[in-house]
Amino acid sequence: MKKNGVGMCLVLHPTGRKGGGDPSQAIIQLKPDGSLFLKVGAVDLGQGALTMLRQVAAEAMDVDIATVYASNRSDDLAPLSAGSAASRVTLVDPHAVVEAAKDLRAKIAAFAAHRLEIDAGNVELADGKAFAKDNPHHHMTFADIGMIANLGEGVILVGTGAWQPSPVQGHDPETGYLDQESVISFGCCVAEVSVDTGTGEVEVTKLVQVWEVGKAINPLMVKQQINGGLQIGMGLALRENLFPHYPDPTHGIEALADYPMPTFMDYPPELIHGIQEVPHPMGVKGAKGFSEGSATAPVPAIISAIHDAVGVWIHEVPATPEVVLRALDAKEHGGATDYWSHQDRSAWLA
């Protein structure tokens, strides 16, 4: 028999590290053709860190994003970043990029003032050009400046920037409020499942996930992270397992085929994502990180939907058909509605 259920999960996901020592650095260099080369330490695993930082750099320098190149390919060449972890990159790295852009703008302005023979205070940078405030026609493009500086005068125009959040003292015991530096992203996930009581199989029929991200610098990539997190979360909740667990010497799997991550066939037929924006004072443009949270939120949502459907709380993931059947069995025979399988797992394998 198939039984349907609905479950929900709310997530408070801290973004950035709170103990201090969470730095990021950035370097932006003006190339001879007027393009900008941005070096950052944040690793892009496909989540889009480089695209997002290029967007920030392009806006801070007021140039077309197509003229901003970025690299983080090598630790030898990249400036420092405390890493693509703790959902920190979107919160921390843009500050370093903005600082580097400020530095480079000042250097370009000084160089242009000299060439345009005007006061440094009279130089304005906008739209990839440096011009006199009182006479915008009197201008040089970044391409002119890049060419003359690098090849004509033999100088390098490069801006550097670094930033890190200040350490957080924890919450105020009087009010319970956290410091402003304790940046939290908020998420909500609702899952609808259909549980087959005969086979123990759980099918996710609908999933809704909404995240409050401060400001979505790149909404398409935020959507991808929400929907991608859902896939990881579904895998964690229902299928993916490295049993026997570390440090068992036989831990691990031999082939991808033995590691049943979700495929197109497992994706819920109905999938809804939502992005809420409440700009956070600590973020550049109000942006916060959130992505890791989107991978965890579906797990409790799916597990509580299973409870709603068949009345058992499963305390171990993945809730494979075997685990679900054993939980149903325990309920039927002993009346227990809570199921902790891992304690007796070795017993069933024996």
Partner: protein
């Protein structure tokens, strides 16, 4: 023992010196320097190495290189026409059908084969046909939308 293998790659004749044990993926990546088919697993599980062999999607890692003698092989590079992206590729970009990109060339090739066979697939048919291509970043929804969109516009 090595053999000279000749086939058409993205419309142009190519030759490579291959061993009988080489897979098509070995030849493409190591001999011909075409690295768009990815070696995700080398055992037929992930679909990242998918190429078209005489119009049919196959896993290059499971295809014995010598069996493609004289045949047409198309990788993702061969999908665009005269440097112009095809509607499916544009739709992948518009819907965000790629994050890290590791699965993307395989996805595009599989989806091209799917649309050639079935120009107006239902959601369920897409899931079925594409289920041999894994995406760890979780772009299944975006890719499904891109395929549906391409099919709609192709009408």
């Amino acid at each position: 023992m090595t053999h000279i293998l000749s086939f058409q790659l993205n419309g142009a004749p190519v030759q490579a010196l291959v061993k009988p044990s080489d897979s098509l993926l070995d030849v493409l990546r190591e001999k011909l320097d075409v690295t768009s088919p990815k070696r995700g697993c080398d055992s037929g599980d992930c679909g990242a190495c998918t190429v078209l062999l005489d119009g049919t999607a196959v896993r290059a890692c499971l295809t014995c290189a010598l069996t493609v003698e004289g045949k047409q092989v198309v990788t993702v590079e061969g999908l665009s026409r005269e440097g112009e992206l095809q509607p499916l590729q544009e739709a992948f970009m518009a819907h965000g059908g790629s994050q890290c990109g590791f699965c993307t060339s395989g996805m595009l090739v599989s989806a091209t084969a799917l649309l050639a066979k079935n120009p107006h697939p239902q959601r369920q048919e897409i899931a079925q046909e594409m289920s041999g291509n894994l995406c760890r970043c979780g772009c299944y929804e975006e890719i499904t939308q891109a395929i549906l969109d391409t099919a709609r516009k192709g009408e």
